[in-house]
Amino acid sequence: MSKLHVTIEGHEFVVEVGALPRHDEPVRVTIDGTPVMVSVSSLAGPEAIEWAVVGTHPYELSVDPDLRWIDTPRGRYQIQVRDLEATVARPRSGDGRVKAPIPGRIVRVLVEPGQPVQVGQPVVVLEAMKMENEIQAPRAGTVSDLHVSAGQVVKLHELLLEIS
């Protein structure tokens, strides 16, 4: 039995769930003391959830792999899930390597090695799908390595620069 605290758009719920079934069968869930049957398209992972039927209410939705939001046709909901019985916080990826999020061509490099940068500061302009896209610094720090220059074509996930 897991006891989870779920916050959605500022509303808090206590959700209790027994062991997850082996196959994608309906699960009995207790929300704030009220039991309900929940079917989801797949329990292979958050990304595999495409629909759910909670009690008598059907939903089409998608869930952020990092569990920060749920999308439904009615909008995006900020969520937070905490397991009060677990002691380890979930890991956050936060390294300073900036990689190409899409294949494309470097139009401009906006920083120089050694330059201090702030979180969210544009560092590179990448052209793809006939649009210019600003790639932003994932964290504050100093540009330690610059691997690309203007005009260069980059592959998906190619390392552009590093911030340390």
């Binding site: 704030d32 329990l43 595999a48 046709p73 009615r74 969520i79 649009m131």
Partner: protein, 494 residues
């Protein structure tokens, strides 16, 4: 009628032209680059010619040579680059190949947008005020002087084409060069011409365009008007026809002006005359697009006229065969551009392979797209990959249907702007039809939130998602994330 039509385009425009040709019983030929081997328009065509790089399907000489080779007596350039290419059109005319689009005489008048404004002004119509010529981004001093002369705010527009590139407003001198540089880069990427010009902005305003059909013998009709005011990320996203919020007198005036202006330019086939309308309903001419437009399905919904079929028929020399009174505009049509991008992450483009592709159906719903389940959305081309068009007997009915259709549309494998469109069509200003140019810049009203019971349901799903994540010891590659960069993009700041 033509013996055979060659399509000098790809993607959705090519699919649209294949369909129109097939409906008319005309054999149709596609050109494709190796990447497009699996493309829908290639498979639907009667013949398909591979174009090996570095040659391109947009190469005028190659298109003309292939038209000769395959015996096509007409070329359809779609609604892109070649549709407004003067040299290409001129050469085709010399070679005896009909271009299903504007003739060179019309193009000579419309491609110089500043001279076009002057022509319309001299005919007695109000126009916007533009810079004296087009500029490149390095002409900083002249650009600043021109912007001062016009008075801020000014709009930066590409000298060539439009193609859904929305207008970019500059409100202060400090921003001018940045916006010019950005607009020039976008124009370079799409049209190969970085030049831009400036226009004194009419704000707040609505962007109203009147589509027309004309034959070679002087018959010319308008097909109502569309409102394409709504932009996001500097690109048009929603169009409706007829334009909401015009009085009957204003509507008649703008339609009448469009007919006379189209005649000034000798437009043939399908064309569009574009205006901005200020808060008082006064209209100002901005430009003539002498070709079919991306938004034409909205007009097709309210007129029940197949604009591409008519365009092909008129280009073949047939007379229009109907008059203005025969064009009946009924109900309301909405068109949404569905783009492969992530509106929640700065509109980052989202190329990749489409997994699940469920299109909306039912009465009066239409989807124009090159995409299907398993199709590739290429990083090389623009992010527009589908157009959703709906019709209703009145605006309210059309709105319900639009919301319903957007809810039915489900795509995995790439990110799309569908969730943002759902939010836009729930915005009070949009529902009331009272939006103007400011709508594109302001924050959207949050969508109607479900009641507490629904939040409780979502909490249950969130809990299961959490446990599924914990339990997922084996690596999984769900369809929604197979294009790879999604996983990595989690590192991008929020």
């Amino acid at each position: 009628m033509f013996k055979k039509v060659l399509i000098a385009n790809r993607g959705e425009p090519a699919v649209r032209v294949v369909r129109a040709c097939r409906d008319l019983g005309i054999p149709v030929v596609a050109l494709y680059e190796p990447d497009d081997r699996g493309a829908l328009y290639v498979h639907l065509a009667d013949e398909a010619f591979l174009v090996e790089p570095p040659a391109s399907y947009r190469d005028p000489d190659l298109v003309i040579a292939l038209a000769r080779q395959c015996g096509a007596d007409a070329v359809h350039p779609g609604y892109g680059y070649l549709a407004e290419h003067l040299d290409f059109t001129r050469t085709c005319e010399q070679e005896g190949i009909v271009v299903i689009g504007p003739g060179s005489a019309c193009l000579e008048l419309t491609t110089n947008k500043i001279a076009a404004l002057e022509r319309v002004r001299q005919a007695g119509f109000s126009t916007v005020t533009a810079s004296s010529r087009a500029f490149t981004p390095d002409e900083a001093d002249v650009l600043h002087a021109e912007a001062e002369r016009l008075g801020y705010p000014v709009i930066v527009k590409p000298w060539s084409g439009g193609r859904g590139r929305g207008t970019q407003v500059v409100r202060e001198p400090a921003r001018l060069l940045d916006v010019v540089r950005e607009a020039a880069a976008a124009a370079q990427a799409v049209f190969g011409n970085p030049r831009v010009y400036l226009e004194a902005a009419v704000l707040p305003s609505r962007y109203v365009e009147v589509p027309l059909l004309a034959d070679n013998y002087g018959a010319l009709v308008h097909m109502g008007e569309r409102d394409s005011t709504i932009q996001r990320n500097k690109r048009k996203v929603i169009t409706e026809s007829p334009a909401p919020g015009l009085t009957p007198a204003q509507r008649a005036a703008v339609r009448g002006a469009a007919v006379e202006i189209a005649r000034l330019f000798g437009c043939r086939g399908a064309c569009t005359v574009e205006f901005v309308v200020d808060a008082d309903g006064q209209y100002y001419f901005t430009e003539v697009k002498p070709r079919l437009q991306v938004e034409h399905p909205a007009t097709e919904m309210v007129t029940r006229i197949d604009a591409v079929r008519e365009q092909i028929r008129l280009a073949s020399g047939q007379p229009l065969g109907f008059g203005q009174d025969d064009v009946r505009i009924a109900g309301t049509g909405f068109l949404c551009r569905i783009n492969a991008e992530d509106p929640w992450r700065d509109y980052l483009p989202s190329p990749g392979r489409i997994g699940m592709f469920r299109v909306p159906g039912g009465p009066n719903v239409r989807v124009d797209t090159y995409a299907f389940s398993g199709a590739e959305v290429s990083v090389r081309y623009e992010s527009l990959f589908a157009k959703l068009t709906v019709w209703g007997a009145n605006r309210e009915e059309a709105l319900h249907r639009l919301r319903r259709a957007l809810t039915e549309f489900a795509i995995t494998g790439i990110n799309t702007n569908i969730s943002m469109l759902r939010q836009m069509v729930s915005d009070p200003d949009f529902i009331a039809g009272t939006y103007d140019s400011e709508f594109s810049h302001r924050r959207l009203e949050p969508a109607a939130r479900p009641d507490g019971e629904s939040l409780r349901d979502l909490a249950a799903v969130a809990a299961l998602a959490f446990l599924a994540r914990v339990q997922a010891a084996r690596p999984i590659t769900p369809t929604a994330f197979t294009s790879g960069w999604h996983r990595d993009s989690r590192r991008l700041p929020q």
